[in-house]
Structure formats: structure tokens, C-alpha cells
Amino acid sequence: MKYLTRVASLAYDPEKCVGCGRCAEVCPHGVFAIRDKKAAISDRDRCMECSACANNCAVAALSVDRGVGCAAALINSMISGGEPSCDCSAKNGSACC
């Protein structure tokens, strides 16, 4: 299953990449492939912006506008003005997911 195309905020700077392969290891949607000892984005539209790749990139070659892909969280943040988070329905910081 694929979601909307051409929206993902994933940015990649191949110049910085040292080819460690962590991004391909952590991505749960197979966005990356390692070619010639460098990471390559093979399927950008599958990116769900979880930022696992960016977080585990020791040389900061990857960046992503990280956030929850959850309508309820985003609507709540619009109403309350806060950051979108999963703490939507429950009290005392408990979460829905």
C-alpha cells in the first residue's frame, strides 16, 4: 500500500554519505538501496517520515521533517496550538497508539 506521492520531506545529501548502510537497515518501507557503497533513494513515495534513517545517520546526510502521520493528532494540534503528538484521547500523557 502506498500513500500520497510527492509529499515526503525526506532530504538526502549524497556528498556526505559514507555508505554505512544504516538507513537501509532501519527503514521499514525499503526507501533506500545501497549502490556503489553509497545510499540511494529508491522509492521516495514510500517514506512515512518516521526519521529512523536521519536519526541513525552518523554523518547527517539525511534529514526529514519528522512527525506523526495521524489525522487525530494533527487536528488536535490545530485546535490546541501544540505540537502534534499521540497523546490525543487520554489524560495524564497516556496515548492512543
Binding site: 500500500m1 500513500y3 515526503a8 520531506s9 521499514p28 499521540c86 484521547s89
Partner: protein, 390 residues
Amino acid sequence: MAELKFIPGDSNKASSCCDSSGGPFLALPKGLPQGAPIRDIPAWSVGTHDSGAGSVLKVSTVLSAADKWEHIKCRISAFRNNYAVTPGLYAVGEPDAGADVFVSANYKLSFDHLRSALSKINAWVLVLDTKGINVWCAAGKGTFGSLELVKRITDVQLARVVKHRRIIVPQLGAPGIAAHVVLQETGFRVSYGPVRAGDIPAYIASGYTASENMRTITFPLIDRLILTPMEINPAMKKYYPWFALLILTVFGLQPSGIYFRDAWSGGFPFLILGLVSVFTGAFLTPLLLPFIPFRAFALKGWIAGILSVLVVSSMPGLRMPYAHILRAAAYLFFPLASSYIALQFTGSSTFTGMSGVKKELKLSIPLYIAGSASFVAMLIVYKLLEWKVV
């Protein structure tokens, strides 16, 4: 039982005394006096095991009927909001200094998935304090994070428990973990294990490498089905009572008072269509997700919604014996309601990103507001016509 003196270390509580590190009960919470009896030995523990840096609980790899019943409750109610295990180190089987270390969240459902995947394996399980939230969500929040992992590794003195320097972190924890930071801080190298705990034996068998299959998250029918009760629940609690109140008021209200018979008989088809919208948005759309055209959840929900409304409203007994304006209001409102509810399922799905959901919201929210306002306006016009005011 009362003599037991171990506990998987919850060092959340601030350490008030200087800890005599190196004692036999290192895993003891620092706030508790040594030798304090443990009040609750979890039912899933099967004794204790010497970690080399203190005694830790040994856990069963078999889920009991009680565990399984709790898992069902997690899926259908707020039970899951308080379903946690104490963070710290646990033993599975008879682990020694060479055994693998698996990291988990302290949501008991996550912990249970892991321990049941480790039968016939001798391993250590390091449970992080994720406030009772599962690995993936906690990683998104950062509670399943580098900081907490580093702190736990230090607290349980993992460097004394095992002689190797590798920990296996579930791949879905990666959004919260920076492997290079953990290595720098603790000397432990993070290996990301498979997405599903069930693949761990195969992951070990293939020399600690995960196939592409093990690395990829899917969203099969069964997973979508399991998640639907928690979609139906809030929709029925949050929206439906208000909707029902509005409908019953509109149909029951007369200049001379409220007529309950009119409210019920007139409102009945609308109340049913309201239920149909919830069912379509919260159950049918998630279930049929890959088969409904278009990628936007709002659009999928609308398509499923208009089809359901057309089918249900053509059933004998449910035909709307209404004025044209009410029929128009129904065809306008109910598919939109289904669309809105289906859009909420983005939060449960495994492949929607924030930018995409934002885009959907930007386009759909004005439509939901306009649609709902028009719906109410049409109901008011209908009442005015009925009362021959206009």
C-alpha cells in the same frame, strides 16, 4: 515469595543514597531499601536468574490464557493505557555472559510478543521505560530513545552481565535511537533486529541478518481488523451521541413541544445512516483499504460512505420517507462523516506520513466544516418549511 529480594531495576526514582555498586542486588530500585520484600511477583515470571550483576526475574516464554485475555482487552478498551511491566533486565531461559541482549518497551503487549518469540533461546531482555507505550509509538515520541537506552544499559550494568558488546534493538525502535550515539556512550553496538518479534529465530539463524521481508512493515488484513475496535469506539462515544441528540431534536420538535414518537419515527432512518457512516468509516474502509480506489484516506472513506448510504437507504424499511431537502442533506452529510472517520485511521496505519496527512487535512477539513454546516442549515430549512414559517 516474601524472601525474594530482586526486582528489575526501575531507577526512575531518584537515587537518594549513595549506591554501594557491586552488591548482589544491583537491580534493586535505588529508592527501596535492600531486602525489601517484593509485593507482586508477576505471574509470567518463572523464578530468578543470576545476571552476574545481581539477580533478575526469569520470564516464561509461554503466554498464559490470562495474558491472551489481557491482549484482547488492549485492543478493545482503555485497558492498554495502564498495561506495563517494570523496566529493567530480565532473563529468558538460562542466559550467560555470551547471550544476546534484546531491547523492548515496557508496554506489556510488546514485552509479551518478544518473550513468546524467544522460546528455546537463552537471552537477556532489557526493558526500557516507555511509559507503557509500544516500541514504535514510543520511538516516535522519543521515550524509546537513545537517552533512555543509555541510562538502562548503565543502570543494569550490562557491561558486567555480558562480555560481548552488542544489543539487539527492534527495528521499529530506530526512530528513537541513534545507534552511533549509543555506541559512543556505552560501547554497545546496536544491531537492529527484525520488525516483527516472531522473525527473531530466523534472524538469529541467518547470522543476525534480517531479510528485506523482515525489515519491511506491512499492513495485512488481520492487523487492520485488530485495530478497528479502537476506531469504532471513539467515533461512537465522541460523535454519535451528539449526532443522535441533534436528529431526535429536529424530528421531535414542534411549536407545541417535543414529540418523542415523531422524534423516533422521523429520525430513525437518519440514526441508522449515522451508524452506517461510523461502520463504513471505522470498519469497512480500514478492512478494504487496499481495494478502495485512490490513496487519500478521506477519499477512500467518502467512496465507501456514498456506496453504503446508497445501499442502505434503498433497503426496504429504511427508505427515507423524506422531503427532497432531507434526502439531499443525507447524501451530502453521511459520506462526509464516513470520510472523516476513515481519515482518523491514518493514525493506525503503518505507511502514512505527516506531510501527506497534512495535505489531506488541508483539503478536506474545509469540506467537512462546510458540509456539516450545510447539513444543519438544511435541517433548519426543513423544519421551517414543515412549520410553514417560510
